[in-house]
Symmetry: C2
């Protein structure tokens, strides 16, 4: 069920209507072809030899036996692949280990063969002489000076931040100063953020709570694994790349850098991708390209599911300690925090972003936050839907519930009182723009499940006899991002409009762009084709992600369409002998206002434009410099089996400020999807390692994704607080739904059984243990 609140306008023809995603029929019927499905003549297949050790010195690699396998064409190691900077602190730039393996799963060699089977056989015969080294696994241990080093080479370089936060384009307001604490060289990034005077805050505080929560690495679990196909172009002058990636120009840039070739020699083609969630901002592309470049043949590399779990780039594990101080009236006055992000074997977990995110829900005059990224012998990490925010919100929302309990205050009243509002000071001393967090909370306060929460928690299905009901709330969101963008559009000879974009179509973004264009021009959505070509010609676009695509690219599309509209009116004015100001475009026709039978179809305009006038070709550029934060408030009802620790989620209500619901059906889908992923964070998903750094959850048999029967009915409520710079008032919508879920679930479990579980996912085992300890 979807309700839209505060509908700002009803005169639009397309925007605001539930619209089927243009990519949906093909995806539902299995007709979409992904990178792994693309055939290419003389295609070679690559497979990787992965390290069995979490940390070891490589004494030697003997590839001779692998090369003997019939069908094996070449075997490369980090040394023979000859990348520009093979020991770069960026994993993307140094995809094969040199001298040292730093996690169990670290690729040490790539075998290229005529068949995948031959490549597999080759991998089995790559003979690596490893000398095991001590491991750093637990981030709380790894941060200590006494810890073994996770890397003996390049151990302390601040790496490039992967996709998510780089694209969030936020100033994290970090404070440059020397830390006094003694830290291990595993610490690869430290951020200290301050606002106000924390000591004054503690003096003012009448109630203080503190707690520490822990999360596990969580995988993005896109359906399509990391995949790439690279082939020499027909002319031989370019590499043509079909990546499963969220950003085409980013892939071009990564490959150009790794191979030290000009960007114009890399052509990245647009290809449908099977999910990403932040995990496809660049990982295996330079490796795939290098294999094709060295062999001068088309090469495909597609991870198996196990490889994707072992050698992908999941969300980082976090340890977050918070101390909150409030006055008796509930006003938050002091906020201190320390966060450790486990960055795995490469820097880039986004400590600064995590710290910043801790400050983006509640107003507080006095902040003091220290965040650390620490290297361990685990797989490197990447962005995952609202990167850092699920961890931050889990820490924050469970702490807030604890504070409310101390204060004896209503959970939503406290949140409403302290929720960020327009004009509040940000940690970086800017002021928050218009945002809809209070409105989301107010909407949730009205919901029957909240109003009747006391009865509702008793009202469990008959089959759950003996279980304990609980109701939990949490809030959270995403500060938003923006990036300059450009778009073109072309009127076709059949009267349809082609919108030319460089964005990767994800979560229905192309469909939304088609709606924006249709609305802007006066055409039906079916008559708008969103089209993509390669990085050679596409208008500039950043990666699709960070809930910034519609907000950043939408205005460019709208500008392009308005440019085209002006051109159309100019031509039609000439054809109809009417003033441009008297013309309107309606339903594929240019009509003279008030003289409906005096009109000319867009088809006729298009034909004349390429015969006698100028082709209708619009271009739009946009560079929003201010973001539009997006918030949500969640409410969950669940039941806990006190005997086993099993949790069953029974009902879910999510309110979200979407700015303007361009395609309510799609937003609903995003909310459902994000909440489902959030339930994964809360209850099911997490990497577990043994003390040697062996991953205990390397398959989907061990790593538990939520099933459809784990997901309850979800009520979605959209609040529409228009974003001033968003197209038709729209803002981003993809990140917020995942953010508050773990907090809400853990709070509801506490409500049900009185136990705060301080580590997610709350597996039955973990809850059972906590119940027994309590």
């Amino acid at each position: 069920m979807t309700q839209a609140v505060e509908q700002t306008s009803t005169q639009n023809l397309h925007v605001g209507k539930r619209t089927r995603r243009q990519d949906a029929p093909d995806k539902l019927t299995g007709r979409t072809r992904f990178t792994g499905d693309i055939s290419h003549s003389n295609l070679l297949h690559a497979r990787l030899a992965l390290s069995p050790y979490a940390h070891a010195k490589i004494n030697s690699i003997d590839i001779s036996a692998a090369l003997e396998v019939p069908g094996v064409v070449a075997v490369y190691t980090g040394e023979t692949l000859e990348l520009t900077n093979p020991t770069s602190s960026s994993r993307t730039q140094s995809p094969l280990a040199i001298g040292e393996v730093c996690w169990s799963g670290h690729p040490v060699a790539a075998v290229v063969a005529e068949t995948e089977a031959a490549a597999e056989d080759g991998v089995a015969l790559v003979d690596v002489d490893y000398e095991p080294l001590p491991v750093a696994i637990d981030p709380e241990e790894a941060i200590k000076p006494s810890s073994p080093l996770a890397r003996t080479q390049n151990s302390n370089q601040a790496g490039e931040i992967a996709g998510g936060d780089a694209h969030a384009a936020v100033d994290t307001g970090s404070v440059e100063e020397e830390e006094e604490e003694a830290l291990s060289e595993n610490v690869c990034n430290k951020v200290h953020m301050k606002l106000g005077d924390i000591e004054a805050g503690w003096r003012e505080a009448e109630v203080v709570i503190e707690h520490t929560v822990r999360t596990r690495p969580v995988h993005q679990s896109y359906m399509e694994p990391q995949s790439i196909l690279v082939a020499p172009s027909v002319s031989g002058h370019q590499m043509v790349v079909w990546p499963s990636s969220q950003g085409m120009l980013g892939v071009r840039s990564d490959i150009s850098k790794a191979l030290d070739v000009p960007e114009r020699q890399v052509r990245v083609e647009s290809v449908p991708i099977g999910g990403a969630f932040g995990g496809k901002f660049g990982l295996i592309e330079p490796l795939g390209a290098a294999l094709a470049y060295r062999t001068r043949k088309p090469v495909r590399l597609v991870f198996t599911r196990q490889e994707d779990l072992m050698a992908g780039n999941p969300a980082p594990q976090a340890v977050i300690s918070l101390k909150l101080g409030a006055k008796r009236d509930g006003t938050l006055v002091a906020f201190q925090g320390k966060a450790i992000l486990d960055s795995g074997a490469y820097a880039g977990a986004g400590a600064g972003l995590l710290g910043y995110l801790l400050t983006t829900t509640y107003r507080c005059p006095n902040y003091d936050l220290r965040c650390y990224e620490v290297l361990t012998n685990k797989v490197s990490v990447g962005a995952y839907r609202a990167p850092g925010a699920p961890q931050a919100a889990y820490a924050m929302e469970t702490a807030v519930d604890k504070l409310c309990a101390e204060l004896g205050m209503d959970l939503l009243e406290f949140r409403k009182l302290n929720a960020l509002r327009e004009g509040d000071l940000m940690i970086d001393h800017r002021n928050w723009p218009r945002l809809g967090l209070v409105e989301c909370i107010e909407e949730l306060q009205k919901h029957p499940l909240w109003v009747n929460r006391a009865e509702e928690k008793q009202n469990l299905p008959a089959e759950l006899e003996g279980w304990k009901g609980g109701i939990g709330v949490a809030i959270g969101g995403w500060p938003g991002g923006t990036e300059p963008a450009a778009a073109a559009c072309r009127l076709e000879s059949d009267g349809t409009l082609s919108v030319v974009l460089g964005t990767v179509d994800l979560t229905g973004s192309d469909t939304t762009m088609a709606m924006i264009a249709a609305e802007g021009l006066g055409l039906s959505v079916d008559n708008v084709n969103v089209v993509h070509d390669s990085t050679d010609t596409m208008p500039y676009s950043g990666g699709t992600g960070g809930s910034k695509t519609v907000y950043s690219m939408g205005p460019a599309v709208l500008a392009a369409v308005r440019d085209a509209r002006q051109q159309i009116l100019s031509i039609a004015s000439n054809m109809l002998e009417a003033a441009e100001g008297d013309l309107e475009i309606e339903d594929g026709k240019v009509v003279v206002r008030g003289v409906p039978n005096k009109n000319v179809s867009l088809k006729e305009v298009a034909k004349m434009s390429t015969r006698r006038y100028e082709p209708v070709y619009g271009r739009g550029r946009a560079g929003n410099t201010s973001t539009s934060p997006m918030y949500s408030a969640h409410l969950v009802k669940l039941a806990v089996d006190p005997d086993t620790g099993e949790v069953k989620v029974l009902d879910y209500v999510a309110v979200q400020d979407v700015g303007r619901a361009l395609n309510p059906a799609e937003i609903e889908g995003q909310m459902h999807g994000g909440i489902t992923q959030g339930l994964g964070w809360a209850l099911f998903e997490g990497y577990e390692y043994d003390e040697n750094g062996q991953l205990l959850t390397p398959t989907l048999m061990d790593y538990a994704l939520p099933h459809s029967f784990d997901v309850p009915h979800i009520s979605t409520i959209m609040v529409e607080i228009p974003a001033p710079l968003g197209p038709y008032g729209a803002k981003g919508i993809g990140e917020p739904p995942v953010v508050p879920v773990a907090g809400a679930v853990v709070n509801a479990i506490a409500d049900a059984v009185g136990v705060n579980v301080l580590t997610i996912p709350v597996t039955p085992e973990r809850l059972f243990t906590a119940l027994n300890e309590a």
Copy 2:
């Protein structure tokens, strides 16, 4: 040797400089990959069964034996290919015969197989039961009511005009009226054009001459034969087409129409093409696409050289009778003509254009022209470099020499006196714009070879003892064409500029566009990349041809670059804190005028534009509505062996008004190439048929192309009369060089041996016969 005359400007940095073609290194080293070189997984190969009869009824086609050949996948006939209109009067739309074959070479079936050899074997086993029908071969016979009909079906439909003249975009000023002459139904198009009062003209004329000349079909002889590869797209929703074609959107439109699918389902990719000269404006593309569409497999069809001669679309054979009247002082006062164009088995030879072209060299107050297109049992025809103009100029220039002889007037003085000038009335009652014909003639008058012609014709190489020297002149040109065009450009992160175009790169057009862009922005040519993607996204472009590409697309490129320049200055103004008006772009940097060390590189601007401002993305649209005519004056010295009829061309001088010589090296190449092709028309090339319509010249052993040793030293002289709407004053340059050659050569032969040969090519046999008859 090249001389440039009347240089209009010298301050440009790039325009006007001899610049190497960007495509040259690859083409010279064989690295370029054409359609026939593209590999594709699971590629099938098509071969065609061609009719051995020039005209026959098809009683039946038995494909069963062909289907039995191992590797043969499918065999299609005109009936089973299921095109939208399989009996269309457009050959492109009805590529396989239905019921009747109309020329020897008419495709009757297509065999698709796993290998070309299997397809060939299949073709050999396609069993067609033919019933021979009477043939119409000679156009002068075919026009008579007594002639057999060349087609018993669809015999009298005016077909679509192929590429060349459709793209010349001229109004032929034809007069609609009933002809009284009894004509065969083979006549598929008649045009009657008039200006002034022809009877009054004859009354005024003091000298009248008349004569009739004949030409043969001439093949464009592009190095790459007709080729196409079509594959289902990865998604299955589109056909992806790699054609050897001059116009990508034309191919899309042709295929869409033939298969009755929306244009958006056809994606035409940009692929280098190996010559075209007008012969690749659409021929086999719907056939190739249909084979892929029906088999749902990738299919390639590449003509052999013999197939290209038998089933291509050469320039039409013409019979042109002219009657000219002049006053004693040399003023041309009456011009009557009748032209028959042999259209082969399909209409579309461009009779209207031919008639128009007869009026585009000399001013004359009284015209009366009748032109006919007649169907015969020969291969259908197409455009070939200045379509119709070599035939028209051969007729006209030899007639003018005859008139000059009667008048006792200097050949160049007569031409100068009567040459078209700005303001003269066109046959369609418009006035001629600025043109440079007189200037070309004047330039030729000054040339030593002309000044010393009396001595020069005696001055033959020692080895030609006994040969007779001759000097000939001729003039001619091309009225020019234009077509709306659009372009985009994008500043790259490395500071280079990508220019996005939909034009097919021919004769260095991409290089010229890069020069225009470099000049417009202030970059070196090496830092401009002209890039192409598919018809899905490309800015609108017509086909490359008709000497209109630089003239039509150049302004769009310049507009796009100026748009980008403005964006760059706006960003740089912000970065440099300087007024936009004080900024200039020089050598890849934006500099503050007068403060050279205050500058920012385009690379920095590009990077900032995608971070903080708006991406630099220019678009240009152009719709020149007035053409810029282009003329040339040629002078040839040759020698004739009176004993054998052999002709040896010894020296050649060509003067051409090029508007503005953007890339003199390329123009020189165009002039050399066009003159060489003109020598083919004059002396070597021509289809010959026997009385049954069997082609006697189906291979390059029989059809004689000029060899390098047949081509003399060519002196090129460029006159620069700027075209007001052309980029930097440029106009088209490709068509004119071929136009006057045959006239000049035949006039020189007459000068040498006193015999006017009235049929080209002037083979030794033909000249020997004429000498003996004289």
